[in-house]
């Protein structure tokens, strides 16, 4: 394809390109979009990207950094060049995510009841029962539809050959969905001409779907259940997302201090006194939820919440104790769990993963350290990762020492050559690595929001897409 404008000289090299690498049902639209981008030119793209950034800032689609005197709002860097997903690829992603979420829920239901999976030796007992996220308080608690994970984010990457792989499951309080919807709104305003005539699946009914799924959890006798969103408050870096979700669902955004337990129920404090609450979408970690049951120092939670939750008098999304399913160590067992519970092969494979608590895994990791990505199992946000090929000799030695000191705290994976997407930067449009986090909502059944959050590593060559580490986001277009 001869490019003479904005895309002139764009070269993804040997990486899979999410724009130029599209074949089959996505090829025509991808070519059309590439030509439009090329013709738009860099100046126009930059001007519009600048306007978009201003708009995000003014709309307050921001995360806030607090200093002593000031609340400084920052936007998550937004790249205006969309990431495409072909219809065929979307079918794989959608069914793969549903398979994965179904397995996670079956696994949690099993763990907190019969523990067959442990008795059958599929997962090591100590990995579950010795896990910091194991919640013995949840043993025997019955949940509607056996659903523990109502909102799930699955981090997917794509290798050099264009195959999708699961990098991570996020089954606690996955964030980022607000950017999916707001990025789309922004693109529709600022880049309508890029989108014109291209069929792109809508993302706008996420809030309605979520609200419907949460209402399903309430007891059938309650006609119009009161759902609330429980946030740590304005100081939380994801506060905008909490606002967004409460607004999209039309439910109150509450903090722990707005809720009170009385007569074995949860109530919220309103101008008309106490009003009952049936379902809580909580954006607080387990240990902050109830100072009586967990961290006694938490000022953010609701004393006594666990007590009424265990009795089924209120529903929480996600359930307490889901962290035992999305741990990086448990991740390694997911393909086996899919076979165990569903008798199916994984639709989307894991990235090849070595479990360092197992001797074979540790030996392989140590022997190939300079070629591996070593991850601590308990961290998130891209922290504590050593990328072998990028690490200095000193960093490798430090990593080796940590591995030997506490092997069970680590897994390792070969370096994946993440796919790239054309991304606007100071030197024009260049290939930058991306991942994809589709979001799945589960009440009685699972629905996957078409697309998901595409995170992009804005620094040249960087493989780390996390916003805390210089990542940005893109709109994700699932082609019809």
């Amino acid at each position: 394809m001869p490019f003479t404008g904005a895309l002139e000289g764009y070269d993804p090299g040997s990486y899979f390109c999410e724009l130029l690498g599209q074949t089959g049902g996505g090829a025509t639209a991808a070519r059309q979009i590439a030509l439009r981008l090329d013709r738009l030119g860099l100046d126009s793209l930059r001007a519009r990207a600048g306007d978009a950034a201003n708009e995000l800032y003014n709309l307050g689609i921001t995360f806030t950094v607090y200093s002593e005197k000031d609340a400084i709002d920052r936007i998550l860097p937004f790249d205006p060049i969309p990431r495409l997903v072909s219809p065929e690829d979307w079918r794989i992603i959608e069914s793969g995510v549903i398979q994965r979420v179904t397995t996670i829920n079956l696994y949690l239901q099993d763990l907190y009841h019969d523990q067959k999976v442990l008795k059958d030796g599929v997962v090591p007992r100590e990995l579950v029962l010795g896990n910091a996220n194991w919640r013995p308080e949840m043993v025997g608690v019955e949940l509607p539809f056996g659903t523990y994970v109502h909102i799930n984010g699955t981090d997917l990457v794509r290798d050099r050959d264009g195959r999708f792989r699961v990098l991570e499951d996020n089954a606690r309080t996955p964030s980022g969905v607000s950017y999916v919807v707001e990025n789309r709104h922004l693109m529709q305003r600022a880049f309508a001409d890029l989108m014109a005539g291209i069929g792109v699946k809508s993302v706008s009914d996420y809030g309605a779907r979520l609200h419907a799924a949460l209402c399903e959890l309430a007891m059938p006798a309650v006609l119009d259940p009161q759902v609330v969103l429980l946030s740590p408050g304005v100081f939380n870096s994801a506060y905008f997302e909490h606002v967004f979700l409460a607004r999209e669902m039309g439910v109150p955004l509450v903090e722990g201090r707005d809720l009170v337990i009385q007569d074995e129920r949860v109530w919220m404090r309103t101008v008309a006194g106490l009003q009952p609450v049936e379902v809580i979408y909580r954006r607080l970690n387990d240990d902050f939820l109830d100072p009586e049951a967990f961290n006694p120092d938490s000022m953010l939670g609701v004393p006594g919440l666990m007590r009424v939750y265990r009795k089924g008098r209120v529903q929480l999304a996600n359930a307490i104790g889901t962290g035992v399913a999305d741990d990086k160590a448990v991740y390694a067992y997911m393909p086996r769990l899919i076979r165990y519970y569903l008798d199916q092969d994984p639709i989307i494979e894991n990235v090849e993963t070595w479990i360092c608590r197992e001797k074979g895994g540790l030996d392989h990791t140590l022997a190939n350290l300079e070629r591996m990505v070593v991850k601590p199992v308990g961290e998130s946000g891209g922290y504590g990762i050593t990328i072998g090929p990028r690490a200095s000799r000193a960093e490798l030695e430090s990593c080796r020492a940590k591995l030997l000191a506490d092997p069970a705290n680590f897994i390792s994976q070969p370096v994946i050559d993440l796919s790239v997407s054309p991304t606007l930067g100071d030197d024009g449009i260049a290939p930058r690595h991306v991942d994809l986090r589709p979001f799945a909502i589960t009440g009685s059944r699972t629905w996957v929001l078409p697309g998901g959050l595409t995170r992009v590593a804005l620094r040249k060559g960087s493989l780390v897409v996390n916003s805390s580490q210089g990542g940005g986001s893109k709109d994700t277009w699932v082609l019809e």
Binding site: N58, L59, G60, K69, A71, D73, Q226, V234, Y239, F240, H242, V243, A246, R247, P252, L253, V254, E255, R257, D258, V260, I261, Q262, M268, R269, T270, V271, A272, G273, L274, Q275
Partner: protein
């Protein structure tokens, strides 16, 4: 029935109060600079600090009251809780808490407006630019009020917004009257008072009421008439009587539409305040030199009104049977 969180009701009440307060202060500073010079064209900037009851804090910084220091103190000083920037910051933080409740337009305007005020430099307070700076702030506050009126859903949250705005406006008007009558010595209709006409024009302009007053009173500028106008003329949006009318209306809505307990006691309190605002009574009071006491009584009444609203609706004291 209402399911408005008590915390939201309080935040929206204060959002309105803080913007209203910022607007009043901008008016006052603007008018002070433009109209309130004495016959020699000099300014008594210390009176501005005294008027607001901030003298101790102002002096604590070792400052002399000059145009520069006073304007800096009231416009841009983020360490001064009564500055415009602090008011707007508090308004924005309340709005941030209310983002799922208020319209996106309200948030965006306040966000952009706050950042514009935050970007002001000491240069913007210089004599030749002050009027423009104050106008920008007044416009921002008025735009907030207009956007709110045009986009805010009229449920009980709106009633609490209106209550906050009206209480603050009434309070600011009483402060203005009190301070000016004390400094200008406006007891009775003495000839001296009329000589000080420019000062009285300034008072009216601070409350954006000069034209309205002239339409109603084409002749003269009698202090008693001006005070009675600012207290009792229900047609004047910044008069105490008008504000109390707004308060009564919104409390009545809360009682009728949402059956909120506690509205009766608050309404009774408002009735008590309104009874004593009859224009003839106010004029008589001023002639007798009782203005300061009356004003004091009115201010205490407004403070008690805010406390009553807090106790009744914001959960300051848990109602019977409610766990803490």
């Amino acid at each position: 029935m209402s399911n408005l969180l008590a915390r939201y009701a309080e935040a929206v009440f204060w959002l309105a109060r803080y913007v209203e307060r910022a607007e009043n202060l901008a008016r006052l500073l603007d008018v002070q600079e433009t109209f309130a010079r004495d016959s020699q064209g000099a300014h008594d900037w210390a009176s501005m600090v005294t008027l607001n009851g901030d003298l101790t804090r102002f002096r604590a910084g070792g400052r002399e009251a000059t145009a520069e220091t006073v304007l800096q103190f009231y416009l841009l000083d983020r360490d001064n809780p009564t500055s415009i920037i602090s008011d707007l910051r508090a308004a924005r933080e309340n709005a941030r808490m209310l983002r799922s409740l208020i319209s996106t337009e309200m948030w965006v305007q306040l966000n952009v407006f706050y950042n514009r005020v935050l970007a002001l430099q000491p240069d913007d307070l210089a004599e030749e630019r002050l009027a423009r700076t104050c106008a920008m702030i007044k416009d921002g506050c008025e735009a907030h009020a207009g956007i709110t009126a045009g986009t805010f859903y009229r449920d009980e949250a709106w009633n609490f917004y209106e209550l906050g705005r009206a209480i603050e406006c009434a309070d600011q008007t009483t402060r203005l009257i009190d301070a000016k009558f004390v400094t200008l010595g406006g007891h009775g209709d003495t000839p001296e008072a009329v000589i000080d006409a420019s000062q009285w024009v300034a008072v009216l302009r601070s409350a954006a009421s000069f034209q309205a007053f002239r339409r109603h009173h084409p002749h003269g500028l009698r202090p008693a008439e001006i005070a009675a106008f600012l207290y009792s003329d229900w047609r004047l949006p910044r008069s105490v009587a008008h504000c109390l009318g707004v308060i009564e209306h919104n409390l009545t809505e809360l009682r009728r539409q949402y059956h909120l307990k506690g509205t009766a006691a608050v309404l009774e309190h408002v009735d008590g305040l309104r009874d004593d605002l009859q224009a003839d009574q106010v004029r008589a009071l001023i002639r007798k030199g009782g203005l300061h006491d009356f004003n004091d009584w009115l201010q205490r009444g407004l403070i008690e009104l805010a406390n009553l609203i807090g106790r009744s609706f914001f959960g300051y004291v848990p109602a019977q049977g409610q766990a803490q």
